[in-house]
């Protein structure tokens, strides 16, 4: 479980996060949604410590992270898997080396076991026989999937995904969502997914946090989104045609 308290972040004179609190639970996907530029990625980076919040606390279990010393930070980070918005694959390494990387630096697994694990993860994201390709040789969607494989390879207890299915076709998107859901439930880990895809929201939105201009305006699950009573959230949800039709049918 991850708990955040009153996270604030300002870049220059631009207030991006204006005090966000919330809880991300174990064993189900937690979604952060909101339109482009509202600070979703920044919030995610504050949680994993890539951006230092100006104010606020982040708890991993019962351990506070933002003020932790270097050793505790490293200890927590070694249980984190993260998929970045752009994939962030190491461009000088092959697909296989990318996915194996966390195992190389974080574990003492023997070579053949590592390879098995890598192939297993690549197969789970639907990328068999691409092991020796370089990131520049595969498509953007494939890079994303390699990124997911790299994030889950070490069986981390915390999984963060920044827009895992942007740039993917609807079918692959659903596969990725299902994969995230499966992994989360199967290993009982804490998963935080940033997205603005209504499909994902409806598919795996067990615990949704809606951000708007640096504030958290709404919280709930996928069954409650139709009647949230928050205007900004309705605007976001019903920007989607299908959602508008659904609303009418109700």
């Amino acid at each position: 479980m991850i708990k955040i308290e009153n996270i604030k972040k300002t870049f220059g004179d631009k207030e991006v996060l204006k005090g966000i609190s919330g809880t991300f639970e174990k064993g189900k996907p937690n979604l952060i949604i909101g339109s482009s530029g509202t600070g979703k990625s920044v919030l995610l980076k504050c949680i994993v410590g890539l951006v230092k919040p100006d104010e606020g606390l982040v708890y991993y279990g019962d351990k506070e992270f933002t003020h932790a010393d270097r050793d505790l930070k490293t200890e927590i980070r070694r249980q984190i898997g993260m998929l970045f918005q752009g994939g962030a694959l190491f461009d000088s390494k092959t697909v296989e080396q990318n996915v194996m990387f966390p195992l190389n630096v974080l574990t003492k697994m023997p070579e053949d076991e590592k390879l098995d694990r890598v192939n297993f993860c690549l197969q789970r994201v639907g990328l068999e026989n691409q092991n020796d390709k370089m990131p520049s040789e595969i498509s953007g969607g494939m890079q994303k999937r390699v990124g997911i494989a790299r994030a889950i390879v070490n069986e981390s207890s915390y999984l963060f995904c920044d827009e895992p299915n942007s740039g993917l076709d609807p079918q692959t998107s659903i596969l990725i969502d299902e994969l995230i859901l499966e992994i989360t439930e199967e290993y009982n880990i804490t998963t935080v997914v940033v997205t603005h895809d209504m499909n994902s929201v409806l598919g795996i939105g067990e615990n949704i946090m809606f951000l708007y201009k640096g504030h958290k305006l709404w919280e709930g699950n996928k069954d409650e989104i139709m009647d949230s009573g928050v205007k900004e959230f309705d605007d976001f949800v019903f920007a989607n045609k299908v959602m508008r039709k659904l609303k009418k049918m109700d």
């Binding site: 980076k45 994993v48 410590g49 890539l50 270097r70 930070k73 490293t74 200890e75 927590i76 980070r77 070694r78 984190i80 993260m82 970045f84 918005q85 752009g86 962030a88 694959l89 190491f90 461009d91 990387f101 966390p102 630096v105 974080l106």
Partner: protein, 242 residues
């Protein structure tokens, strides 16, 4: 001034929270290979011609019949060892290796590869930069030695082919009144220059923010600042050690 402070903090951060020795060993070897192979052709080419041109021009300037011909190769030798090989090649090296280091790290920064390392609990500065500095400090002195030898060979060929000096006199001049300390001095210089180029370029690349344009800017700034640092250090070392 502030960025100088940040530069020293950056250098300090390379030595905390490191990975295993084995990891660094492998990475350093990789860097050595890429630095060596990447710059050997350019360094050889430049130094060979530098030696040749220096010989011809020195001969052209020494027309006084009282000065024996072997002085030509003696001048070539001392200029090569003291200044041409370590410093001029250093400037070229900064352009070649420094810019690629800065743009490589800059690209890793803007495409979040550095963030990806940090999230895994790896000290990205140390993991990425320390092998680059070690590799450069190991390889550059070797390149300087090679450059020195090639420059003298280039001088020999140019001198003998254009008949401004005979082979025997060239070799005589090369050996005449040779002071081994100049070689030591050249090696000290190359260690210092290598460290400066690698650390400044890495620093510039590592702290890139923005996008592709900024990567280009970091890479240019890396070369400019490395060259300035080399020239300053060159002057200081000459004052201190000669």
């Amino acid at each position: 001034m502030e960025s100088l402070g940040k530069y020293f903090i950056f250098l300090g951060s390379l030595f905390v929270n490191r990975e295993t020795f084995k990891t660094y060993f492998k990475l350093t070897i990789d860097e050595c290979v890429s630095i060596g192979i990447g710059s050997i052709f350019l360094v050889s080419l430049v130094s060979f011609f530098m030696g040749a041109v220096t010989t011809i021009q020195t001969a052209y300037n020494l027309i006084n019949p009282l000065i024996p011909d072997y002085v030509i190769s003696l001048v070539v030798r001392d200029m090569t060892i003291l200044e041409l090989a370590p410093t001029i090649i250093g400037v070229i090296f900064a352009g070649k290796v420094g810019s690629s280091m800065a743009s490589g790290l800059g690209t890793m920064r803007i495409s979040e590869q550095i963030d990806a390392l940090e999230v895994m609990g790896i000290n990205s500065a140390s993991y990425l930069v320390l092998p680059k500095i070690l590799g450069t400090v190991l390889m550059y002195p070797m390149l300087v030695i090679l450059a020195g030898l090639l420059a003298m060979a280039g001088g020999y060929l140019a001198g003998v082919l254009t008949e401004v000096i005979t082979a025997t006199e060239y070799v005589y001049g090369m050996r005449f009144d040779f002071n081994e300390y100049t070689v030591t001095f050249a090696l000290i210089k190359s260690f210092v220059f290598a460290f400066l180029v690698a650390s400044i370029s890495s620093y510039k690349g590592y702290y890139t923010t923005g996008g592709a344009v900024e990567v280009g800017q970091s890479s240019t700034a890396a070369v400019t600042q490395s060259v300035i640092a080399i020239l300053l250090a060159d002057y200081l070392l000459a004052q201190l050690l000669l």
